[in-house]
């Protein structure tokens, strides 16, 4: 099994003047290719902080981070940005689509911006991804004219655009109604099953977590993990 993520002894302490707040206290976490892992925990348990560190948006105070065999915790800001662009995909609680662009342009954006333009190949891939997330008839729709669930599906397609090694999703269904949430989760499972894409999904929703292949629970900055079998029905 190919190792996608290896985080060892990850610590994060926030400092405010002389006051220190330890949030993560030595996290060891590994993810293999094709896993769909849920990260559970109460509010303030450090879920988002851990995701931000794994997503190279935040530097750990201590520990080592290896993604797809590459040690990334010491990379410069520029190299981290390049790494995020090529190897990581993000889905946030809020879709964060660019309102002045169409669904297709939003999906193609992570590939087009560094390349300086949307090539025909990028356009084709963006269309394929949108078709796959069930938005074939919304490809050229402005992002502002899509429903909440559709926007989140576009966000998933955007996260897949550069064929990332790891997709990090922070409460991806948190802002959706039950039907839309089901659709989005089904979609992530489908991509996971068909493409072997690796997902790390941060959620506080047990229903979402139950449909993942593995559940990790973060409690007071420490990780406890267990394995669960995926279930078919998601009840939200």
């Amino acid at each position: 099994m190919t190792r996608v993520l290896e985080a060892l002894g990850i610590e994060k302490t926030f400092r405010n003047g002389d006051e220190e707040t330890p949030v993560l206290k030595g996290i060891d976490l590994t993810l293999d290719k094709g896993e769909l892992v849920a990260l559970l925990g109460a509010s303030g348990s450090g879920k988002s902080t851990l995701l931000s560190i794994i997503g190279l948006l935040l530097a750990p105070t201590a520990g080592s981070l290896t993604i797809s065999g590459e040690r990334v915790d010491g990379l410069s800001e520029k190299m981290r940005a390049q790494f995020r662009n090529r190897r990581l995909g993000f889905v946030f609680q809020f879709h964060h689509l660019l309102p002045d662009f169409t669904a297709m342009e939003n999906v193609a954006f992570p590939a087009a911006a560094p390349a300086g333009g949307i090539s025909p190949a990028m356009r084709e891939r963006a269309r394929d991804l949108l078709t796959r997330v069930g938005l074939k008839d919304r490809i050229d729709f402005p992002a502002t004219r899509l429903s909440g669930g559709q926007k989140q599906r576009v966000a998933i397609a955007r996260a897949l655009m550069n064929r990332p090694d790891l997709i990090i999703a922070d409460e991806p269904t948190g802002n959706l109604d039950r039907d839309s949430a089901n659709l989005v989760l089904d979609l992530m499972r489908e991509v996971n099953r068909d493409d072997g894409a690796t997902f790390l999904i941060c959620t506080h929703d047990e229903g979402v977590a139950e449909r993942c292949s593995r559940q990790l629970t973060l409690d007071d900055g420490r990780l406890a993990s267990n394995v669960s079998e995926p279930v078919d029905g998601f009840t939200g």
Binding site: S52, G55, L57, L58, K78, R80, A81, Q82, F83, R84, N85, R86, L88, F90, F92, H96, L98, P99, D100, F101, F109, P110, A112, A113, P114, A115, G116, G117, I118, R158
Partner: protein, 401 residues
């Protein structure tokens, strides 16, 4: 270019706001163009008024100065004295005239004998400046013939042309004779062949014209001339041309600017005033663009943050905002240049009953290239700060907002 597409989308996502911004820039550029054209037109008018009826370069004999001669070989202190045995004159003037004629920049040449004299009629005596010149070249420097209001202006052997003020003061008219007493003590009875009115007081009151041949015995100059007056096709080139002529002929060459230092100062002061207005226009444009882009960068923090999260390079985000500044500046400047030109043309078309424009504006000298370049550059400079701030947005902070 994808970055241009993003900049354009951002810019025109709020059409009314962008329209207002571009209108502001265009207004600033219109002011810039209008002031530049007005100052250029005013400068041209004043220069034409000064140079229209006078020479652009005056060539005169070199000034002779008494000086102490120093040197180790001289046993006693020696002094070079100014000789008063010879008149100051240009003896080789035909050669100088030939040289001037070969110069394409020279449009008119007038070799003259100038001197002071009194016109005496009975008990009335008026001082005048006599100009002796070739009769066919009387209009070379000042328009005299078209302004003759009495008589035919044919100078002949003993003819005299006087200004209307002189004629009024002495009660003279065409055909009447008058006694001329020169500074050399020569008296001669001359006939008034014409009276002119130029509207220039110094000419109408103080100047009288005779032929060069008449002037020679009057001022005891059988060969030479006292000065050569020159006009150029470009009055602004007078300084350089005077320097060249001075070196080429050994004569004292004085450009019109040195004879009108007051005008030059006034033009410079006017130019500085215009520059200040232009600078303030540019500053207001820069502040307007900068504040609009600062707001835009702030409003789009979360979008920029998500781009940064996806690893979009900082340079790309920087360019998005700089290009917005460039587009605002360029579009605003183009519209401003067009409206500025239109305004100048419209004002130029408003004329007085005599057909002259109410404002001496020069629409073709609106500084359009400068307005375009400076405004676009200014807008780009104005966008750098907000662009830098946007490119440094912390993606995590922006996403969590």
């Amino acid at each position: 270019m994808f970055v241009l597409l993003v900049a354009r989308r951002y810019l025109f996502s709020s059409p009314s706001q962008t329209l207002l911004l571009i209108t502001g820039v265009a207004l600033g550029v219109t002011v810039f163009v209008f002031i530049t054209a007005l100052i250029a037109g005013l400068a041209t008018l004043l220069t034409e008024q000064v140079t229209g009826d006078s020479a652009h370069i005056s060539l005169e004999p070199p000034t002779r100065v008494a000086r102490v001669l120093a040197g180790p070989d001289l046993p006693v202190e020696s002094v070079a004295l100014v000789s008063t045995f010879q008149r100051e004159q240009i003896r080789n003037w035909p050669m100088v005239v030939e040289l001037l004629r070969s110069d394409p920049a020279v449009t008119a040449i007038s070799a003259r004998i100038s001197g002071s004299a009194f016109l005496v009629k009975a008990e009335a005596v008026r001082p005048v400046s006599i100009i002796g010149l070739e009769p066919q070249g009387i209009d070379a420097i000042s328009e005299i013939s078209p302004n003759i209001i009495e008589g035919d202006g044919d100078l002949g052997a003993d003819g005299l042309l006087i200004g209307v003020r002189t004629a009024e003061q002495l009660g003279l008219g065409a055909g009447q004779s008058v006694l001329l007493r020169t500074e050399r003590g020569v008296d001669r009875q001359l006939t008034v062949k014409g009276v002119f009115r130029t509207g220039v007081q110094s000419l109408d009151e103080r100047i009288a014209f005779v032929s060069l041949q008449t002037a020679r015995p009057l001022f005891v100059l059988p060969e030479g001339v006292t000065n050569i007056e020159v006009k150029l096709n470009d009055p602004e080139a007078a300084r350089a041309k005077a320097r060249f002529l001075g070196e080429a002929t050994g004569l004292r060459a004085t450009p019109w600017q040195e004879k009108n230092l007051g005008l030059e100062d006034a033009l410079q002061a006017q130019g500085r005033t215009g520059t200040m207005i232009q600078v303030f226009s540019l500053i207001s444009i820069i502040i307007g663009v900068a504040s609009a882009l600062v707001l835009s960068a702030y409003r789009r923090r979360s979008e920029v943050g998500i781009m940064r999260a996806f690893g979009v390079p900082s340079r790309f985000i920087l360019l998005v905002f700089v290009l917005q500044g460039l587009l605002i500046g360029l579009i605003g400047a183009l519209i401003g240049c067009a409206t500025g030109y239109g305004l100048c043309i419209w004002i130029e078309g408003i004329t007085r009953p005599d057909g002259t424009s109410i404002l001496p504006i020069a629409p073709e000298q609106g500084g359009y290239v400068w307005a375009l370049v400076l405004t676009t550059l200014g807008a780009v400079v104005a966008s750098i700060l907000p662009a830098r701030s946007a490119s440094r947005v912390d993606p995590l902070e922006a996403i969590q907002q």
